[in-house]
C-alpha cells in the first residue's frame, strides 16, 4: 500500500472505541533505557506481574521493547527459533515481507494501523521452522516507561508446518506514566498442523490508552489457543482480535479473563471466522466489574458447511457503579453450520454465597471464593509458575478492591 493511501488512512476512525487524538502524544523512537538492568524498580515489578521472568528460567527466548526501542532479543543457545526486531527482520528477509507483512491485518484498517505501518517497524518477529517444537515458552514484553509516549508495535509470528510454540506476551506501563498510548499490531500465521499458544497479560496504568489490532490465520489442522488476562486498571482499551480458520481441521480457542476496577474502560471483543468446512472455534470470556466499564463483543461467523463454534460470555457485577455489556453475535452463512452462544451478566446468586456460608465461610470469603472460581477458566499452555501467579493474584482478590 503506498504512503499516500496510508497518510489518508491516518484520519480513519476505528469501528469501535473512543477516537484518540494521536497528535497529543510524543511519537519518538528514542532509546530511553539501554537494557532491562536500567529499568526502574517499579518497571521491573510490572514485568513480573505480566509473566516476564528476567532471570529467564524456563524460557526459550526473551524479547523486550521499551517505548519504541527493542532493548533485548535473545534466544537461548541451541534453540531453533528466530526472534528479532520486526524492522531488522524486514531487512533480512524481504521475501517474508512480501508474503506476510500486513497480509493478515490491513494497514489502512484505521488510524492506529496506518500510523504503525508508516513508521519504521518496532515490535517482534518470531519464526519457528517446519516440524520444530519449542518446549519452554518464549517471553515477549512491550513496556511503556516514558511520559506522553506514542508506542508502536508490529509483531509478526510465523509457525511453519507442524511447528509448536508457546508465547507469553506481557504488556505494561510504568506506574508513573500519566499519559500514553499503545498501538499493538499482531499478525500471526499458524501453519498446517502447527500449534500456537499465545498468552497475553496486560498491566497498564489508569492513564494509558491501548489499541491492539490482532489477526491470526490458521491453516489446515492448525491449533491456535489464545489467553488474554487483564485484571488491572486501564484507562481505555479497545480491541477486537480476529481469528480466521482457513484450512480443514483448524481449531481456535480464545479465553479472556477481565477484571475492571473503577476508572477502567475495557472494550474487548473476539471474532472467529470459520471459512472452510471442518473448522472449530470456542470463545470464552469471564468478566468482572468492581466499578469499571466492560463491553464484551463476541462474533462467530460460519462461512462453510460442517463447522462448529461456541461463544460463552459471563459477567459478574460486583458494584453499583460501572457496567458490563455482552454483545454476542452469530452469523451462519451455510445450511450446515452449528453456532451457539451463552451469555449471562449479573450478580452472584445469593444461594451460592449461603451454600458456602453454611460450610463455615464468612460472607466476604464466600463471595471471594465464588469470584475466584468464576474467573478460573482452564487456561491451557501456561507454565506452572505463571499459572500459579495468576491463581495467586486471584487469591488476593478482594470484592472491594479488585485484584
Amino acid at each position: 500500500m503506498d504512503r499516500n493511501e496510508l497518510q489518508s488512512a491516518l484520519k480513519k476512525q476505528a469501528a469501535f472505541g473512543t477516537d484518540i487524538d494521536l497528535n497529543s502524544y510524543d511519537d519518538n523512537n528514542d532509546v530511553h533505557v539501554q537494557s532491562t538492568a536500567d529499568m526502574t524498580t517499579t518497571g521491573k515489578e510490572k514485568l513480573e506481574r505480566v509473566g516476564i521472568d528476567l532471570t529467564e528460567t524456563n524460557r526459550s527466548a526473551t524479547f523486550v521493547q521499551v517505548d519504541n526501542a527493542a532493548i533485548e532479543a535473545k534466544t537461548k543457545a541451541q534453540t531453533p527459533l528466530e526472534l528479532m526486531n520486526t524492522g531488522m527482520a524486514a531487512k533480512k528477509y524481504p521475501e517474508l515481507v512480501e508474503k506476510y507483512w500486513w497480509k493478515a491485518v490491513k494497514p489502512d484498517t484505521d488510524k492506529y494501523t496506518a500510523i504503525t505501518a508508516l513508521e519504521s517497524e518496532q515490535g517482534y518477529f518470531i519464526r519457528v521452522k517446519a516440524g520444530t517444537k519449542i518446549d519452554a515458552p518464549l517471553q515477549a514484553c512491550v513496556f511503556m516507561g516514558h511520559e506522553d509516549q506514542l508506542q508502536r508495535v508490529h509483531n509478526v509470528i510465523i509457525l511453519e508446518e507442524g511447528a509448536e510454540l508457546n508465547i507469553i506476551s506481557g504488556c505494561a506501563s510504568d506506574t508513573n506514566v500519566e499519559h500514553g498510548v499503545h498501538l499493538g499490531i499482531s499478525e500471526m500465521f499458524v501453519g498446517k498442523g502447527a500449534k500456537l499458544s499465545f498468552t497475553m497479560i496486560h498491566s497498564w496504568g489508569e492513564n494509558v490508552s491501548v489499541r491492539p489490532r490482532t489477526v491470526t490465520i490458521v491453516e489446515e489442522d492448525g491449533q491456535f489457543i489464545s489467553n488474554y488476562v487483564c485484571m488491572e486498571k486501564v484507562k481505555d482499551i479497545q480491541m477486537y482480535p480476529t481469528t480466521r480458520l482457513i484450512g480443514k481441521g483448524a481449531v481456535a480457542r480464545l479465553n479472556s479473563v477481565l477484571v475492571a476496577p473503577t476508572g477502567s474502560h475495557m472494550d474487548i471483543g473476539g471474532k472467529a471466522i470459520l471459512e472452510v468446512p471442518g473448522t472449530r472455534a470456542e470463545i470464552v470470556t469471564r468478566s468482572i466489574s468492581t466499578g469499571g466499564e466492560i463491553i464484551n463483543r463476541g462474533n462467530l461467523t460460519g462461512q462453510a458447511e460442517e463447522i462448529k463454534a461456541h461463544l460463552e460470555c459471563h459477567g459478574l457485577m460486583l458494584s453499583n457503579d460501572g457496567y458490563i455489556r455482552a454483545i454476542p453475535e452469530l452469523a451462519a452463512e451455510s445450511a450446515n453450520a452449528e453456532l451457539s452462544h451463552e451469555a449471562a451478566v449479573g450478580r452472584i446468586a445469593p444461594e451460592e454465597i449461603e451454600y458456602l456460608m453454611a460450610r463455615g465461610m464468612s460472607e466476604e470469603d464466600a463471595t471471594a471464593t465464588i469470584v475466584r472460581g468464576f474467573l478460573n477458566v482452564n487456561i491451557e499452555g501456561l507454565p506452572d509458575s505463571l499459572a500459579k501467579k495468576i491463581t495467586d493474584t486471584l487469591d488476593t482478590f478482594s470484592v472491594h478492591q479488585g485484584c
Binding site: 451460592e352 451454600y355 456460608m357 463455615g360 471464593t369 465464588i370 475466584r372 477458566v377
Partner: protein, 268 residues
C-alpha cells in the same frame, strides 16, 4: 444440643411455621415427617440461618447459646451442618478444594472421597452436572470433613438409587458417629470411631445429634433414630417414641389421622 422455643417463621412475608417447640438432646437423632409444602425444609433452613427465613417470634438455642440472630457461618462454625435438597453449582471451585474448605486435609479428602465413591469427581466443579445420587454423596463428603455436632439432612434419599441408599445411610451414620461397621471394616475411614476395633471398649456413646427429613424412611434402616415428629400445617403436632411406628401409622392411615391418633394417645 438444640432447643427451639415458640418459633414462628415467615418467608417472603408469609408465615410458614407457627409456635414450633423442639428439643434435641446430645446423641439424639430426630426424624421429621410431614406432607409436602408443610414447612419441613423451612425449619431446617431456619435452624441453619439462611437469609430468606425470618424469625418473627421465638428463640433457637444451640449448645445453650442463643443463635436466633446469628449469621449462617457462625452457626456452621459452632457445629451445625446441613445437607440441602438442591445445592447450587459453584463453577470453578473444585470439589477437592470445597472439602478442604470444610476442614479436611488433602489426604483426608482422598480417603473420604474414595469411601464415598467420589474420587473421580474431586477435580470437577462442586455439583457441576452431578446426578441426584452424586449430589447427595458430594454433600455427605463435605459434611464428613465439616464434622458437625448437629447434622441436618433434608431428604437424603431423594434421587438416590437403591444401591446407594446404604452408602448414604452409612455416611450419615459415620458423621453422627453411630457407627455400624464391624471388625472386618476396621481399615475403612468410617471406622475411625469404631470401638469394635478396640477389643476393650463397649460401643462408644455418640454425643452427636441429627434432624432428618424423610418421606419413605429408607435412611432409618441405617441410621438409628430416637424420636419422630410430624410437621402438619406449619406446626409440630406431637411426637412418638419410635420413628418406625410413626412411619407405619402414616403409611396406613395418612398424616391427618395419624396426627390425631398419636396425639389422642396423649404422647404429645
Amino acid at each position: 444440643m438444640l432447643n427451639i422455643e415458640h418459633l414462628t417463621v415467615a418467608v417472603n412475608g408469609k408465615t410458614i411455621l407457627r409456635d414450633i417447640n423442639l428439643h434435641i438432646a446430645p446423641g439424639e437423632v430426630h426424624v421429621l415427617f410431614g406432607p409436602n409444602g408443610t414447612g419441613k425444609s423451612t425449619l431446617i433452613s431456619t435452624i441453619m440461618g439462611f437469609d430468606r427465613y425470618k424469625v418473627l417470634e421465638g428463640k433457637i438455642y444451640f449448645k445453650g447459646q442463643d443463635i436466633t440472630d446469628a449469621p449462617c457461618y457462625e452457626r456452621a462454625q459452632l457445629g451445625i451442618g446441613v445437607m440441602i435438597q438442591r445445592p447450587p453449582t459453584i463453577r470453578g471451585l473444585s470439589l477437592q478444594k470445597m472439602v478442604e474448605i470444610c476442614g479436611a486435609s488433602p489426604r483426608e479428602v482422598a480417603s473420604m472421597a474414595k469411601w464415598m465413591g467420589m474420587s473421580d469427581f474431586l477435580n470437577r466443579s462442586v455439583n457441576d452436572g452431578f446426578s441426584g445420587g452424586e449430589l447427595k454423596r458430594s454433600e455427605l463428603l463435605q459434611l464428613m470433613a465439616q464434622k458437625p455436632d448437629l447434622l441436618l439432612l433434608d431428604e437424603p434419599e431423594s434421587g438416590v438409587d437403591i444401591e446407594n441408599i446404604a452408602l448414604v445411610g452409612r455416611a450419615a451414620n459415620y458423621i453422627l458417629q453411630h457407627t455400624d461397621c464391624d471388625k472386618s471394616h476396621c481399615e475403612q475411614p468410617c471406622c475411625g470411631q469404631n470401638t469394635l476395633c478396640d477389643e476393650n471398649n463397649p460401643l462408644k456413646e455418640s454425643r452427636h445429634s441429627g434432624l432428618i427429613i424423610t418421606h419413605l424412611g429408607h435412611i432409618l434402616k441405617y441410621v438409628p433414630a430416637h424420636t419422630a415428629h410430624i410437621l402438619y400445617n406449619g406446626t409440630l403436632t406431637c411426637q412418638s417414641g419410635d420413628p418406625l411406628d410413626v412411619l407405619h401409622c402414616i403409611s396406613e392411615t395418612g398424616y391427618e389421622k395419624c396426627v390425631r391418633g398419636i396425639c389422642g394417645r396423649g404422647k404429645a
